[in-house]
Each structure stands twice: as C-alpha cells, then as structure tokens.
C-alpha cells in the first residue's frame, strides 16, 4: 500500500538498541557518578573504617535523610515546580510534633497525625497559590521559606520562651509509634553478624553497628513508591506531562492544577517524615532544623538527572544524588579532609550534572 512506501522513503528512525535505551534513562549520570565516588573513596579512605558495617550504615543514614526529602523534590521538579519551603517545613513539622507532646502532654500518635495534617495543608496552600496565580513556584515557595521559618520561631518562642524543645525522650519510652521513625531494624541480624565475627564488635560483644536505622527503610520505601508511581501509573504519566508541557497536558484532559497541588503536598509530607525521623531520634526539636535542606534536595534531584525545566527525571536518580551527597560528606569526614572542600565539590558536581542533563535532553529530543 502507498502508506508503507512513505515510511521507507523517509528512512524514518535511527536504530534504537539497548544501549540507546539505557542512555536514555535519566539516572544514568548519577549511577555512573556514584560508582566513581565509591571507587575514589575505596582507594582514598582505605583503612579508615568508612567501609566497615558501622561506616557504611553511617553514610547510608546521612544519604537516607537527604534522600527522603530529595525524592519529594524530584517528583515535584519532574512535575515542573520547585519547593523552596521544604527546609522550613522540616523545622516547622519538628515543633508541630514536639510542642504539643512536651508542653501539653498530647499522646505521640496525635502529634504525628497533627504534623501530617499540617504538612498536607501547607502543601495544598503552596499548590493552590502556584496554580491559581500562575506565579513561578520558585517565588511562591521562597515566600513560604520565610513564613514557615518565622512561624516556627515565633510560635516556639511565644509558647516556651526558648528556641529548642527538649525532653521528648521520656515520651518516646515504650511508645508504639516511635520505633516507626526513630528505631533500628535488623538488630538480630547485626548481632549475629557480630557473633560470627564478620563485623566489628565492642568489648562487650555487641556489634558497633547495632542495627539498620529505619530512616534507610523510609528512604528505600519512598524511592520505590515514587518510581512505581512515575513509571507505572496514570498519575506518573500526568506528572511528566505537567512538567513537560502544562498547556498541552491540560488540552489532553490532564488535571494539571490537581496534579501539581498533589505534588506539593507530597513534598511537604516527605519533609515531615524527615522531621519525625530527626526529632524522634534526637529526642528534641529545634527551630533551625532543616535549613538549606531545600537546596540540598534540589541539588540531589538535579544530580539525579531531573531537568530544572521539568518533565524529565527519576526518583531513583534523586536517590543516587542523595547517595553521592551522603557518601562524599562522610568520606570527607573519614579521610580527614577539611570539610570546606565538601561545598566546593557540591557546587562543581551540580554544574557538571546540569551540563550533562542538558546534553542528555538534547539527545533525547533531537529533531531531524
């Protein structure tokens, strides 16, 4: 038939093998980058204990804490928006949990419920303002950054006269919900590994690394969930579309405002999970918690292959971005290099990632 000849006449498509497909994945750069980082420290931090069980768990925990927030930031960025209020949300959620628990003796479950409700509300407000006004989320959430931090400081000082809320420990003893955010899992396994002599133990025979912090599980869970949603659900399809071309998405029947608002709510929830992990592990809240986390989360997402312009990226990428972050941070600590250099490394890493992403995007959409 005539139609098939046209296909040949135009020599439609270039071959697209497995290699090309693999190179089309957004997280490729971050995975490759992480292997380099590991290789580097395997050599440089040899014999420092960085790669002992305790060392590995410590850089995984640092990565996990950022990763929890970065996954939210990545989804939002893929959906075409930023949230600069994430860091302040962390501080805010911390006092929303700690204040009622310590000052008014609320049960922990109620405080946690309150924190998530407040987070959903903050995310909803962010989303509504952005989609109603059409203002860049960069500006709207920059406002949120100051408002939330100010509220955190104001409320805490007004009610307690301090900027810290200690004394959560007593509340946590024996609470059934606390282990969900603050505990460790796999203590039995670690003990067994210690008894077998496969990991380092203290003089009393207990392993140095007593268990796997639950934050790591939260991190993996959120990454898996976000990846599933992005790649295998209708909502995921819509998230990519909202970031890729909101006007086209709307014309095709995608509820753009709802999707974006949902994403803002998800980032706020991620920030709250982080805050709970931190507050309940440390046993206190501090009004300054979470500062700069908004930028670290965005950096992790970008290193992970998310385009700043939206419509492209992955949760797995953000997770590797966070891993690079955590590993380098702890690696610098273990090797004893002045930590000032960590910031230099971060900045350079960010620039390299953005350049690389731009290149990948050009490749992916090269017209003919």
């Amino acid at each position: 038939m005539a139609s098939s000849t046209i296909a040949e006449r135009d020599e439609r498509l270039r071959p697209s093998g497995v290699v090309r497909r693999l190179f089309g994945r957004p997280e490729l750069g971050a995975v490759a980058g992480y292997l380099l980082v590991l290789l580097f420290f395997a050599v440089v931090a040899r014999g420092t204990g960085m790669f002992s069980a305790a060392g590995i768990l410590s850089f995984l925990e640092v990565s996990a804490q950022l990763g929890i927030v970065a996954v939210g930031a990545a989804l939002l960025m893929i959906g075409g928006e930023f949230d600069l209020s994430v860091g302040s949300m962390i501080g805010f959620a911390g006092i929303v949990v700690a204040l009622p628990a310590v000052e008014w003796g609320w049960p922990l479950w109620l405080c946690i419920l309150l924190a998530f409700t407040v987070a959903l509300l903050v995310g909803w407000v962010n989303g509504m303002i952005v989609s109603r006004t059409g203002l860049p989320s960069f500006v709207v959430t920059l406002g949120g950054l100051f408002v939330l931090r100010g509220l955190t400081l104001g409320i805490t000082r007004a009610l307690t006269g301090r900027t810290q809320i200690p004394g959560l420990r007593a509340q946590l003893e024996g609470d059934w919900l606390a282990p969900l955010f603050a505990g460790e899992v796999g203590t039995g396994i670690m003990q067994w590994l210690g008894e077998m002599g496969w990991i380092a133990t203290r003089p009393d025979g207990l392993p140095l690394a007593s268990g796997i912090p639950v934050s790591i599980l939260w991190w993996l869970l959120l990454t898996a969930l976000a990846t599933w949603v992005l790649l295998r659900t209708r909502i995921g399809n819509w998230i990519f579309a909202c970031g890729g071309d909101p006007a086209a998405a709307r014309n095709l029947g995608v509820p753009v405002a709802k999707v974006k608002t949902g994403l803002f709510m998800f980032t706020a929830v991620c920030a709250t999970i982080f805050a709970l992990v931190q507050t309940l592990s440390v046993g206190s809240a501090d009004v300054l918690r979470g500062q700069l986390k908004e930028f670290e989360a965005i950096i992790a997402a970008v290193i992970g292959g998310c385009l700043l312009t939206g419509g492209y990226g992955s949760a797995i990428g953000a997770t590797f971005g966070a891993l690079i972050f955590g590993t380098v941070q702890m690696g610098i600590f273990y090797t004893g290099v002045n930590t000032d250099w960590f910031k230099v490394f971060l900045g350079v890493m960010l620039l390299v990632a953005v350049l690389f992403n731009n290149y990948v995007r050009r490749k992916a959409t090269e017209g003919r």
Partner: protein
C-alpha cells in the same frame, strides 16, 4: 448530498472577546459527518479561537454549541473529548520528552490500565504495542514506541496526534494548521490522513491558510475575516481563486491580481508544485478509496 443529513456539530452566533479584543463575533457554522470542513482566514482571523471554544478550552462570550442537535456547554477540554470532539492543536498537543506510547495514551490511560485501586498500573507493553500498530496503520514505522516524541518529525507528530484522536473514537476531528509547518512531502502525508478520517465518516474541521491544502481534501469551506464569517461554500460553488480573494480580505486588489496571475502562470506554464502537491494528494485519495480507507472497520476501537 451528505449535507442533507443532520449536522454533527453546529455553532450558532458564537462570539468571543478577550478583554477589549473581539476575536469572534456572530459566527455560525455546521459540520456534517464525512466532510472535511475547511476553516480559512488570515492570521488573527479568529480560527484558533473558534476551535478552542469548540474543544472546551475557551467559553464563548455569546452564542451556543449544538452537538447532534442538543445544546452543550463544555467546561474543560476533557468535556469536549468525552463527547467525541478531539482537537490537534497548532501548538502541538504532544509532550516532546515523553515517549510516543505515553503521549498516545495521555489522558486516556484507563484503556491500558490493569488492576484496580492501589494496584492499578499501566500496561506499558500493551500501550507500546497498540501505539506501534496504530501508527503502522498510517504508514509510520515506529520501531520503538518508547522513544521520545521529540525525535519524530513535525509531520509524524501531527500524524500521531491524529491517530490518537481517531483511535479514541473521535467523531469530530479538529486540526489547527496541521500542515503549516511542514514540507510538501510531509504535508501530503497529513493530508492523506485527513482524507482517511473523512472516509471513516468523521466530521473534520481543517484549519489552514494554505488554499491548496484546503482544496486538496476539503469539500466545504468557511472563510473567516476579522472574527466574522464571509460565508460557507461547497466545493462546487466556489473556485480556488475566489477563496483566496476572500481570505485576503482587505488587501489591495492589484496586489491580489498579481498573485492570481502568478497562480495562472504556475498552473499553466510550469504545472508543477502547487498543482503537483494537489495531484499527489488527489491520486493517493483515489487509491485510498480503491483500496479501502486504511482503517479497519472490525469494531476494534474502544
């Protein structure tokens, strides 16, 4: 002829103001099944505005829309889509960074969704297979439906958009300047596809300011000028030259006649390009009719 049947969609006295700009005033038009209704007019004539009202993007300031004789109000593009009015926008309703298959099922994911509730998931294998098959049907060989739409040429993208609309059971297909950014060869692919849609008894609204493209596939022509209609004409009631004169609207007569002379020269002396383009399409159309429309009628469509 087919115009004796009831219209699929009808607009009555449609007006639209954007602040102080009057984009449309008192436009009426009827589209019948199995016709390609060309909407012609210069830039800013109000063509896009008219079809954006029809597809639920804008609400009219005055006037009404009738679908199968019933008055309808569209609150969103989704409303219009659900009623079988599918639009392929000038500014391409495609997301370049997303895959062909994902674009194909955008907003219609339920068709390739498996499972329910929390376990509802996209069956990408099936989505890829359907997208590839539907595109093969119109002569676009997509070896990898998972590749980004951005890698397709403009003509192919238009075809994907049209194929999608037809696949999802559109009854009215609106195309806003689908050929204006394309070369001759690619444009003829799109034009041929428009003719296929007509053969399937869809009502097609085809916006263009290329009279040759309109003439090649259209059977009814409505000319807009500065937000008003200059009339609707069957192909047997008007000539290509008259259409062009009307489209040009306020332009100088001399300028026009010069252009018309050039037409005559082109047609007579060289007898290529303009005419060739039309002829190629006409020839393919004849083949389409001879071989069947290229769409199957096995009721496979959802």
């Amino acid at each position: 002829m087919m115009r004796s049947r009831p219209p699929l969609v009808e607009v009555e006295n449609l007006s639209k103001r954007f602040g102080t700009v009057v984009a449309l005033s008192g436009v009426s038009m009827r589209v019948f099944p199995g016709e390609v209704h060309c909407l012609l007019g210069d830039n800013g004539a109000g063509k896009s505005t008219l079809i954006k009202i029809l597809s639920g993007v804008h609400r009219p300031s005055a006037g009404r829309i009738l679908l199968d004789g019933q008055e309808v109000v569209f609150h969103s593009p989704r409303d219009a889509l659900d009623r079988g009015i599918a639009t392929v926008y000038q500014d391409l309703a495609m997301i370049p960074l997303m895959s062909i298959a994902r674009n194909f099922f955008m907003g219609r994911e339920h068709v390739v969704t498996r499972g329910r509730g929390l376990l509802a998931r996209l069956d990408m294998r099936r989505a890829n297979a359907i997208a590839r098959e539907e595109l093969a049907r119109i002569g676009i060989d997509v070896r990898d439906p998972a590749q980004a739409v951005g890698t397709l040429s403009g003509g192919e993208r238009q075809c994907v958009a049209i194929a999608r609309a037809v696949y999802f059971g559109a009854r009215v297909l609106i195309l806003d300047e689908p050929t204006s950014a394309l070369g001759v060869k690619q444009a003829s692919v799109v034009l041929r596809y428009i003719a296929q849609a007509r053969a399937r008894n869809l009502g097609v609204i085809f916006i263009t300011h290329n009279v040759h493209h309109a003439w090649a596939v259209g059977n009814v022509f409505t000319v807009l000028n500065r937000g008003r209609t200059l009339g609707t004409f069957g192909k047997d009631e008007i000539t290509r030259e008259q259409l062009l004169t009307m489209m040009a609207g306020g332009r100088e007569l001399e300028e026009l006649s010069a252009e018309l002379e050039e037409f005559a020269r082109a047609d007579a002396a060289r007898a290529i390009d303009v005419a060739a383009e039309e002829k190629e399409v006409a020839a393919t159309l004849r083949r389409e009719v001879a071989f069947g429309s290229g769409f199957s009628d096995d009721g496979r469509r959802p």
